[in-house]
């Protein structure tokens, strides 16, 4: 009976996995097992490596004893178990290979048992391997020959990002290039980079913002009125850009984007019915500025902000946006200077009205399009 059931264990597993494996064909699943708990965290810096392998000591001891050809001892007291694991460092190092340029490196073995409770998830035991990196090494390799499944290999070079790969126990992980990571950009470099991003977000990429600014410009030819509106708009969008980027306020894009389009339509339509700066116009421009700030934040989030230079990037992006808006107004001044100097009626009739009408149509179209998207 005993023999028969043992033989049968293979059939059992085979049947269990078949259902899942059939499904692999034509975009379907693959495996009958979940991901294992073993992880190797590798840190390579200052000419040395340190590797922490997260282990379950109750599983590690019999594994080391099995590979070491020893008698398997079970249910040992914790202290005895940990003592035995620490003594089996030689077996561990036979199965776990650290290499540079394909040549194995001699590692120092240290077992760090979980200190408090036997809670693998919260206080994991670790095996730490340490050693020097050979001068001029071009790549790092790691083979963990103690796992009967997949484990996560996380490699970090200096302060660079963590590179994760999933590796099958016993198989070598893909070599990790040790080419020096690019030096972190200077604050000035980040500032310039985000200034350009802010500028180009208006010119040439931000047609909706350009039309809004033109709507502001077209209301009146008095430069003081234009400055008042632009300043109000700037203050407002700076507030929401900062608040949104710091996660204090947030509105979904599907609300913000149609509202931005609506703001464009509004200023253009108002240009058709009034020709002087009214107080409510400033209040509305401020409100619209708040919305546009959230729109800028959406773009900035997509671009990503470098964590070490978050504030620099945020401020310079905003300055870039301002520079873009001022450029639009400057260009509009130049384009309309002749007509503005002739007489107000002609300017309004042949520039303000048709341009505002066109902007209004576009604004309404975008509002509907974005609302339905």
């Amino acid at each position: 009976m005993r023999k028969r059931t043992r033989k049968g264990s293979s059939g059992f597993v085979s049947s269990c996995v078949r259902g899942l494996l059939i499904a692999l064909l034509f975009s379907t699943p693959s495996s009958a097992h979940e991901i294992g708990k073993t992880q190797a965290q590798v840190s390579l810096r200052d000419g040395a490596y340190e590797i922490d392998v997260v282990v379950d000591p109750d599983a590690l001891l019999p594994t080391l004893e099995a590979y070491g050809g020893r008698t398997i001892l079970r249910d040992l007291p914790r202290a005895e178990r940990d003592r035995r694991i620490a003594a089996l460092g030689g077996v561990f190092l036979e199965r776990v290979i650290v290499s540079f340029d394909g040549r194995p490196s001699a590692s120092a073995f240290e077992y760090l048992p979980s200190s408090a409770f036997n809670d693998f998830a919260q206080a994991p035991s670790k095996v730490r391997l340490r050693g020097p990196m050979p001068a001029g090494a071009a790549d790092f390799g790691f083979t963990y020959g103690l796992a009967l499944g997949t484990y996560a290999l996380n490699v970090r070079i200096g302060d660079g990002p963590v590179q994760t790969q999933w590796v099958v126990g016993g198989a070598p992980g893909a070599p990790v290039s040790l080419a020096a990571p690019l030096p972190p950009p200077t604050r000035a470099h980040v500032g310039w980079q985000y200034f350009v991003l802010g500028f180009t977000h208006i010119l040439p990429n931000g047609f909706d913002h350009v039309l809004f600014v033109l709507g502001i410009f077209l209301l009146t030819s008095k430069w003081r009125s234009i400055v008042a509106q632009v300043s109000t708009f700037t203050v407002a969008h700076s507030i929401t850009l900062a608040l949104t980027m710091y996660g204090i306020v947030s509105l979904p894009a599907k609300v913000v984007e149609p509202m931005i389009a609506l703001s464009i339509a509004y200023v253009a339509i108002e240009n058709l019915v009034v020709s002087e700066l009214k107080p409510w116009r400033l209040a509305l421009v401020f409100s619209f500025g708040l919305l546009h700030g959230m729109g800028f934040a959406g773009v900035l989030r997509d671009l990503g902000l470098p964590r070490p230079s978050f504030l620099t990037a945020l401020v310079t992006f905003n300055v870039g946006v301002e520079a873009g808006q001022l450029t639009v107004i400057g260009l509009a001044f130049v384009a309309c200077a002749y007509w503005q100097q002739r007489d107000r009626v002609t300017y309004r009739r042949f520039v303000v009205v048709p341009a505002s009408f066109a902007i209004a149509v576009v604004g309404v179209f975008w509002t509907v399009q974005r609302a339905l998207a």
């Binding site: 049968g8 059939i22 034509f26 991901i35 999933w166």
Partner: protein
């Protein structure tokens, strides 16, 4: 006419034309961008996407680099996920499913309703044992495209793993009626096997192999290996041998063919050769299952200490490296180790899924714990599909005999 083309009207028209041009350019650019991110997904095993070991490796390297450069390209993400899933079957690297899911999730941000990506995601949920989620995803995709047979496959696979066989078999029937294909035939074969119709299972699995495109070397090898396994269960060793040879011919060194061939050698009494084959396989793709099989062979050869070491590796592996509660529970019960723990593990597994193999593991753990009444209930559930699985029947027989003895006392 002259009055119409005054400088003033020309400026007005120019402004309107400029605004219109700006809008046109903006929209054209958006359209171009949205088109640019859609590569055509390339399914493994179709023309231009071979599945030899080298084909898969090269395609993964290539598509990984392209996905890194264009993470929002859904077509590329689907192609990568599909190739990674197929690679998992050869290497046993279950972490590749996580990489595949991450690529799909990233790409879906730009187009959450993309059908191809959602369909692939349903498959990945299955591979991560998230069966209930997989069924839901499959049903959602089925509602989107009721005539895509694959969705019924995903729904059926999910129900099957949860032990909901009526729903599973109904889904497979629907899949088959929509599109007879290698994937459908293979599912029908498994359904027949579960219902105890091994001869019918061989017929369907052979049809699956015949329906597999020659470009899909890996799938061809897998189907032949399955045919070999079924013949082995029927005791037709010669036919099984031929099927494993066909599998190895299509894809040299396919792990399923190698494992199956080792079983065939053991069945012929060539246990040392079988052992050598398994040990060779363990060098490149070690699994707890392989360690347990190796232990069984060593035990049968009288090499008890070595067998014990392999069992220790299998147990550690099922605990830590490739967690599979029902396998672990059954293994512990089989080897009379930590029976209360085996019962607890099996009960927890059975609270999540009621497939016949989990029920069998639960029954055997109860039996070893001396809980005969509970064992009888569980083994009755394990027998409910009519499966002729030799282990389930051996367990049922032992439980019945013990119950009879207990009643006699």
């Amino acid at each position: 006419m002259r009055r119409l083309f005054t400088p003033s009207t020309i400026v007005s028209i120019a402004i309107i034309a400029a605004v219109a041009a700006m809008v046109a350019v903006a929209n054209w650019r958006d359209v171009r961008r949205s088109r640019a991110v859609f590569s055509r997904p390339l399914a493994s095993g179709t023309r231009g996407a071979g599945t030899t070991r080298e084909d898969l490796r090269a395609r993964i390297v290539d598509v990984r680099a392209r996905v890194a450069a264009r993470p929002d390209d859904i077509g590329l993400a689907v192609t990568l996920a599909d190739a990674l899933v197929r690679q998992t079957r050869i290497t046993g690297n279950t972490g590749l499913a996580i990489e595949a899911e991450a690529a799909l999730t990233r790409a879906l941000v730009a187009d959450p309703s993309n059908y191809d990506a959602n369909r692939e995601l349903g498959s990945l949920l299955l591979s991560q044992h998230r069966f209930r989620e997989a069924v839901s995803a499959g049903e959602k995709n089925r509602d989107a495209r009721p005539y895509d047979a694959i969705n019924y496959g995903i729904i059926g696979d999910g129900h099957l793993e949860l032990g909901e066989y009526d729903q599973a078999f109904a889904a497979f029937d629907k899949m088959m009626s929509l599109r007879p294909s290698a994937a459908s035939y293979a599912r029908v074969a498994y359904a027949r096997e579960l219902q105890g119709n091994l001869t019918g299972a061989v017929e369907s699995m052979t049809l699956a192999a015949d329906a597999t495109a020659p470009e899909d070397a890996e799938a061809l090898a897998w189907h032949h290996a399955q045919v070999g396994d079924l013949y082995l269960r029927l005791g037709k060793l010669h036919e099984a041998d031929a099927a494993y040879v066909a599998s190895s011919h299509a894809f040299p060194g396919h792990p399923f063919a190698m494992t199956g061939y080792a079983r065939l050698l053991a069945a012929r009494g060539e246990r040392s050769s079988a052992l050598a084959l398994l040990q060779e396989l363990a060098k490149t793709a070690p699994t707890p299952d392989l360690a347990a099989r190796t232990g069984d062979l060593l035990e049968s050869l009288g090499r008890h200490d070595e067998a014990e070491r392999q069992y220790a590796l299998a147990e550690s592996g099922w605990r830590v490296d490739a967690p599979e509660p029902k396998n672990l529970a059954r293994f512990l019960a089989e080897h009379n180790r930590r029976i209360p723990e085996a019962v607890a593990i099996a009960e927890k597994a059975a609270s999540e899924r009621r497939d016949i193999f989990t029920e069998d593991a639960l029954a055997w753990a109860y039996f070893k714990a001396g809980r005969l009444s509970a064992a009888r209930e569980a083994i009755a559930q394990a027998l409910r599909t009519g499966s002729k699985d030799a282990d389930i029947h051996a367990h049922a027989k032992a439980i019945e005999a013990a119950t009879g003895q207990a009643a006699a006392r």
